[in-house]
Amino acid sequence: MLDQAASRRLLTTDAASQRSAGSLRVGRINLEVRQSIPLWLQALILGGAALLGIAVSAALLVAAGVSPKDLFDEFVVETFTDSGNFHSILFQAAPLIFVGVGAAVVFRIRFWNLGIEGQMIWGGIGATFVVLHTIGPPALRLPLMMLFAVLAGMAWVALPAWLRMRLGVNEIITTLLLNYVALNFLLHLLYGPWIDPKDAFPHSQQFHSFERLPEIGWGLSSALPIALLCTALAAWLVLFSRFGFYTKFVQDNDRMALAVGVPIKAVTFVCVLLSGALSALAGFVIATAQEGRLTQSFFEGYGFSGILIAFLARNNPIAAMIVAVLVAVLFVSGRSLQVFYQIPFAMVQLIQAIIVISVAASEFLIRHRLHWVH
C-alpha cells in the first residue's frame, strides 16, 4: 500500500540553506500524497482558497479606485440590507442555479456538456412554440411550456450523447458547435416567422400574463422555488440514490464499471438528458420570468457560468446552488460597480477567473500533505 502511495513521485524541497551533512540543517518541507482526507479539512482548504481569491479580487478593485468601505457596502451590506438588491440577486440566481446544477450532474460522469447555451435556446424555443401555437387552455399553458422546453433541451443534447456513446465522437466538440446551430436557428426564427408582429423587432411577441411565471409574494418569482426543487431532486439522485452510487463508478473507471455490471449506458444517458433538461429550464425561466418573451441574447454568458459554478461546487448539486447564489451576488454587485464607479464588467469576469484559479490550485493541498522534517 505504501509502495503505491510512494510510486507517485514525491517531491522534496530543501528549505534549509545549509545543505551539507552538518548538524546545522534546520529541516525541510516534505510533500506526501495523502491517503485520505477528512471532509472538514477539504472544506477548509477549499474555503480558504476561495477567501484568498476574494481577497486578491478585493485588492484589485481597491486598486481600480473603489474604496474598501464602498466595496464592503456594495458586496455585503447592500446584498443583505437593500431589499431591491436582495431581490435582484434572487432573481438572477434562479437561472444560474439551473445551469450550475445541470453542469454538475453531467460533469460527474465526465461528460463535458459545453452546450448549455444551446440547450437554453431550445428551452426558450420550446416554451415560445407553445405560446405562438396557443397549445392547451390558458390554465395548462405554463406547465405545457415547461414540458416543451424540457423536451426540446433534452432532444438537443441527446444527439451528442448518442454520437459519443455509439460512435465515440467527442462531446466537447459536438455540444459546443451545436450552440452555434441553435443560435442561428433562433435568429432565423426571430428575424423570420416569429418576429414580433406589433413592433417588428427581432424578438417574439410578448407572452400573456398566464404564460409568465407568477410571483410568490415579496416580489419573488416562482422561478426560485422551482430551481430549489430541481436542485433537491438532482441532489437526491446523484448523492443518495443507487443511481448516484453508479455515477461514481462511471466517473472513476468506466471499464471497471462495465465489468462489474453497472448499467453505464443508462447512467450516462440519464445524466446527460437531465443536464439538457435543467439547462432548458434556465432558458425557460429567463423567457417566462425575466423577459416575458423570447429574445436573441437571453442565454448569453450562462454557459460559462454554469461550468464555473459546477467546478467551484465540485459537481455537488447542493454546493452548486450555493455557489450560484454567490455568483448572482457578484453579477448584481458588479453591475452597480459598473454604474457607480465606472468599473468595466470585465472586472466581474476577472474576479470569477481569480476565484476559480485559486480554488483549482488548492486541489494540490487536498491531494498532498506538507510537513516539516528536521
Binding site: 500500500m1 510512494a6 473507471n253 471497471m256
Partner: protein, 500 residues
C-alpha cells in the same frame, strides 16, 4: 573497505503511516545484493531514499564510508547512485539516444547526441544488449526499454545500481538474460542492488541478501547457502505452505462453451474456436503463452465483449451467449480480472464503494431510492476482516492505495461474498508475493470445495498445474489440447509452444 552504500536507521512515513522503521542496509562494490521482502515491506521505499527521491525523517546515508545528504535524484546521481524504477522513466516518442541525453546532459545538443549514440553503442556492446540508439522508445519491447534504462543509468556513471523488481515485467527467458548481465556488471566492480520478491532469483543470482519485513531489515544472509524455505520464513514471518487441492468428485456441468469466436476491438479475431465445459466443484485451467486469445476469452465469458459466433450455456439459465455483464453477474458469474486496477477496482473510489458495487443492485444496501451508507460500511468492514485485506487504515481510503495483493483480496472479497456459481479467474496471482499468492489460491480452492465451477486462465504454468482438475491449452485462439490432472508438465509445455 567501507561499503559502497550504507543506510542506517532510516525512517520514513507516508501520511502518518510508517513505511520504513529504522531500516538498515549495506551493499558492497562487486556484489549482487538482493533486497527481498513481501509487497509493502518497504523495499522500494528504502531504495527511493537511496536514490534521493524520498527525504527520510531520520537516518543516515553513507557512500563509500562518507556521510551524504541527498536532496534529490541529482545528488544521488552525482554520488554515482543510479536506480531503474519499476515504471520506466522514458519519453516514449523520443529516441533511445535522446532519452539518455536528457538524463545526462552534454553541452551542445547535436554534438552531444552523436557522442551519446557512440557511447550507447559501446555500452550496449559491453553488456551484450542489442540496442539501436536511434530507435524510438515506442517501438521497443518492455525488455528493450529496460535495457535502455540500465544503459542510461550506467552512462550517468553509476557504480551503485539499484534495480527495482526488474524481472516483474519480463518473461522467464528475458529474466535469466538480464540477471546474467547483472552478474557481469558486479564482476566489473559495480554494487548491484536487486529488489525482488522472487526467491529463485535470490538463490540463483545474488551474493548476499537482505530480508525486509514491516519496514525493517530483519536479516542479512549469504544467498548461496540459504534456502528458499528459510527466506520465505524470514520474509513472511511464518512458514507458508502452498494450499493443496483435495480430490473430490465434480458435480453437474455448470458452464459449457462451444465454438466461441471473439474479435478484438480492432476487428482481429483472437479467439478462433474455444470449446470446453466446467463442472461444479472443478477447476478448469487454461494454460498458454499470453496473447493467444486469453484476454478476449475472459471478456466474452464475463459479458464485457460480445462474441462473434459460438455459444455459452449456463446451467439453469440456458443460452447466455452475448449476455451483458449485468445479467451474467445476476446469474452467478464472478470475475477476477488480470488487470486489477483496470477492470477490478475503481482506484479513485473508497474500499467501501469498491466492495459494495458488487451487490448494490440487489437492494442489499437499500432500494433504488436510497443507498444505506451505514449498512454498506458494515458489510465492507466485515468482508475486509474476513478476507484479510490489509493496509486498510480507513474504510474511506482510495482503493488505489492498496498493494497488489490486498487489491486482489478486496476483489475476491467482493466477488466471492455472493456465493458465485461460476468463477472466471485471469492470472489471479500475477505480481503477488508468496503469502498473498497462497491466500488467493486458497480462496479459489475453497470456492471449488463449496461447489463453484472455476475457469482459471493463467500464463503461469505452475499455477495452472497445481490448482486445476483439468487443463486446456490455449494456442492461437484455440483450446488445442486437454489434460487431466496430474498432467505432465513437459507435455503441456510442448503443446503451448508447438502450436504457437
Amino acid at each position: 573497505m567501507a561499503a559502497a552504500l550504507k543506510l542506517a536507521g532510516v525512517r520514513k512515513s507516508f501520511d502518518g503511516f510508517p513505511a520504513l522503521d529504522h531500516a538498515d542496509f549495506e551493499a558492497e562494490a562487486g556484489e549482487v545484493h538482493a533486497l527481498l521482502g513481501e509487497n509493502g515491506a518497504g523495499k522500494s521505499s528504502l531504495m527511493n531514499v537511496a536514490a534521493g527521491l524520498y527525504a527520510p525523517e531520520a537516518g543516515r546515508i553513507f557512500v563509500d564510508g562518507e556521510e551524504v545528504v541527498l536532496t534529490g535524484p541529482r545528488d544521488a546521481i552525482a554520488r554515482r547512485i543510479g536506480m531503474v524504477h519499476q515504471e520506466f522513466k522514458l519519453v516514449r516518442p523520443f529516441t533511445v539516444a535522446e532519452n539518455v541525453l536528457l538524463a545526462n546532459w552534454r553541452g551542445r545538443f547535436a554534438h552531444g547526441l552523436r557522442e551519446m549514440e557512440r557511447q550507447i553503442r559501446t555500452q550496449a556492446e559491453q553488456l551484450g544488449f542489442a540496442v539501436d540508439p536511434r530507435s524510438r522508445i515506442d517501438e521497443l519491447s518492455i525488455a528493450e526499454r529496460q535495457r535502455v534504462e540500465i544503459i542510461k543509468v550506467l552512462l550517468a556513471g553509476a557504480r551503485i545500481l539499484i534495480l527495482d523488481e526488474p524481472t516483474a515485467v519480463l518473461t522467464d527467458e528475458e529474466a535469466v538474460r538480464l540477471l546474467t548481465t547483472v552478474r557481469t556488471l558486479a564482476a566489473r566492480g559495480t554494487a548491484v542492488i536487486l529488489v525482488t520478491h522472487k526467491l529463485g532469483e535470490v538463490t540463483a543470482f545474488a551474493d548476499r541478501v537482505t530480508v525486509m519485513r514491516g519496514g525493517r531489515a530483519v536479516a542479512v544472509l549469504d544467498a548461496r547457502s540459504t534456502t528458499a524455505d528459510e527466506l520465505t520464513k524470514l520474509a513472511v514471518g511464518t512458514r507458508v505452505t502452498p494450499p493443496r487441492r483435495a480430490s473430490s468428485p465434480p458435480g453437474a456441468r455448470r458452464i459449457a462453451v462451444e465454438g466461441l469466436q471473439v474479435a478484438r476491438a480492432d476487428g482481429h479475431m483472437t479467439v478462433v474456436d474455444a470449446t470446453f465445459h466446467v463442472r461444479a466443484g472443478e477447476i478448469y485451467g487454461i494454460a498458454g503463452v499470453g496473447g493467444n486469445g486469453q484476454t478476449e476469452l475472459v471478456e466474452a465469458l464475463t459479458g464485457v465483449r460480445a462474441p462473434l459466433a459460438g455459444s455459452v450455456e449456463l446451467d439453469g439459465a440456458g443460452d447466455t451467449t452475448g449476455a451483458s455483464a449485468e445479467r451474467l453477474r445476476d446469474l452467478g458469474i464472478a470475475s477476477i480480472p488480470a488487470d486489477r486496477f483496470g477492470y477490478g477496482l475503481a482506484g479513485g473510489l473508497s474500499v467501501i464503494d469498491n466492495f459494495c458495487v458488487g451487490q448494490v443492485h440487489t437492494a442489499f444496501y437499500g432500494s433504488w431510492l436510497w443507498t444505506d451508507g451505514a449498512s454498506m460500511r458494515k458489510a465492507a468492514t466485515r468482508a475486509v476482516a474476513e478476507f484479510d485485506v490489509q493496509g486498510v487504515h480507513n474504510m474511506r481510503q482510495k482503493s488505489a492505495l492498496l498493494s497488489g495483493g490486498n487489491a486482489q483480496k478486496l476483489i475476491i472479497a467482493r466477488e466471492f461474498s455472493r456465493d458465485p456459481k461460476v468463477i472466471i479467474a485471469h492470472s489471479p496471482s500475477r505480481g503477488l508475493d508468496v503469502r498473498a499468492c497462497a491466500a488467493v489460491h486458497e480462496r479459489l480452492l475453497n470456492a471449488r470445495a463449496a461447489g463453484a465451477a472455476i475457469v482459471l486462465i493463467s500464463d503461469d504454468l505452475d499455477e495452472v498445474l497445481s490448482l486445476s482438475d483439468r487443463i486446456g491449452v490455449m494456442t492461437r485462439g484455440r483450446i488445442a489440447a486437454e489434460f487431466i490432472a496430474p498432467a505432465d508438465r513437459q507435455a503441456v509445455g510442448r503443446v503451448m509452444v508447438h502450436h504457437a
